[in-house]
């Protein structure tokens, strides 16, 4: 579904990512691991089109998308649930969800899509008129994921969904992620939490200083000494 081909990207012409190669097959759940500053967020922002590539290509469903705007990519179904959730605090849950489906492709199906999201997160459905800023961190994460689903995502990219949540909520959010995966959604899971990710993702990439340090199925990555060194900076 997604193929990253020798991608070099960064800010102001200074590369953060150096020659990244990676693949995600349809229906797969892939983990993207790495310590702080390894380039995880830069990578998914490159996939979202928020960071412009310096060289290399990104293919989605066989098409080169590396020059497309963020809007065009959302319309194709490449949807990011950003780190820190970034819900619109002064808007209601309902308005946040409507904005999730504002792209030209998803706009027509918003009522049906909203029913699905509420079915997945009944807690959101109970308080549609409540402002997003008044929700707890865990509820905001539900809303952020729901908002991402409203866009009719084909590839859902979750940036640090466990960040700052209580263990109970982390467990709940990851059950939801498993459920979405079981329903056939392709997921890229960006996480700092190594063990959690290895339990849920089939395959993982480990980033270190902007390069892929280790890759493979969860077991391989777990036992790869480079994974440890990427995390401990040894």
């Amino acid at each position: 579904m997604l193929e990253i081909d020798n991608l070099v990207a960064g800010y102001g012409g200074v590369p953060v990512l150096r020659e990244i190669n990676a693949k995600i097959a349809a229906g797969e759940i892939v983990g993207l691991l790495g310590a702080n500053n390894a380039g995880k967020t830069t990578l998914i922002n490159s996939l979202s089109g928020m960071v412009k590539p310096i060289s290399g290509r990104i293919l989605f469903l066989g098409e080169d998308i590396s020059k497309l705007t963020p809007q065009a990519r959302v319309e194709l179904g490449i949807v990011q649930v950003p780190e820190g959730r970034l819900v619109f605090p002064e808007m209601s849950i309902r308005e946040n969800l409507l904005l999730g489906g504002i792209n030209a492709h998803a706009r027509k199906h918003r009522p049906q899509q909203m029913e699905k999201v509420i079915g997945l997160f009944p807690r959101l459905g109970e308080r549609l008129t409540q402002s997003a800023g008044s929700l707890s961190g865990g509820e905001q994460q539900m809303l952020a994921i729901g908002r991402g689903l409203m866009a009719e995502a084909k590839l859902l990219m979750l940036d640090e969904p466990s960040l700052g949540l209580s263990p109970l909520f982390v467990q709940y959010i990851f059950e939801i992620i498993d459920k979405l995966h079981a329903d056939g959604l392709t997921i890229l899971l960006v996480e700092q939490n190594l063990n959690l990710t290895l339990r849920h993702a089939r395959r993982c990439y480990v980033l270190e200083r902007g390069q892929v340090a280790a890759e493979g199925d969860a077991e391989t990555v777990k036992n790869d000494p480079r994974t440890r060194s990427a995390y401990l900076g040894l």
Binding site: M50, P70, Q71, L86, F88, L99, R107, A151
Partner: protein, 288 residues
Amino acid sequence: MSELYQALAQGLLIGATYGLLALGMGLVYGVSGVVNFSHGDFISLGMFMCLALYSAFAMDPYVSIIITVPLMTAIGALVYIFLIRPMVGHQFLMVVQLTLGLSLVLQNGILMVFGGEPARTPSFVESKLIILGDTVLRLPHIIAFVVSFALAIGLYIMLRATDFGRSIRAVHQNAHAAALMGINVGRVQVLTFALGIGILALAAALLLPGTPIQPNMGLRYTVITLLVVVLGGMTNFVGIMLGGLIIGIAEAFGTIYLDGPIGLLLPYIIFVAIMLFRPKGLTWSSAR
């Protein structure tokens, strides 16, 4: 007593239009972080366009808006795309400098074309008066009040209940997240600025009947708009309309009750007094 009613009524009527002027500025500030110091000069531009259309075709200002609103909206879009956008995201002061420069260009451009003599643009409603008891109201003021409030309510509904309105609020609350939703943030910023200038074209026609106009009056409108926006808390819709009414009433009281310079200063004195006690604007509550 009748003087009091007179001042209150006149202030409220004009204040609604001040509120409308400030809503345009507040929207632009909300989505782009730009404070447009040429705001008032765009009002003069709108007024002088009406004057030109009157001189050429004897067009009433209320009819001229068919031409001035689309024209000014287009000018707003072009100004944003070619002048302001390249500056946004750099130094805040650079944008201030730019809009101040634009203000001088507009002022002197108008001066070159129309000359410095005060001019008037007649309208068929100009001298119509409405008398309620002891209070004498000018029809243009009533029209300005009604249209301004109707537009403000229309804007409010647009912001709450349409996708474009929600996009504006989303960009205001978190531009990065808005882009991730597939909102074209640059487009929203251009359209909001264009909308803000288009509103000024309407406001210009509302303020024009009976008012002598001069090329250098823009700054006064800019300052009034700034007062109102700051009173309203920059982006608070209700606060801005309230701020407009307060400044309008202060101005009317100043001219009716006080002589000369002190009277003209009254809105500014009241502004400073309010800011001393509510530094974050009228609708700011300490509980939050």
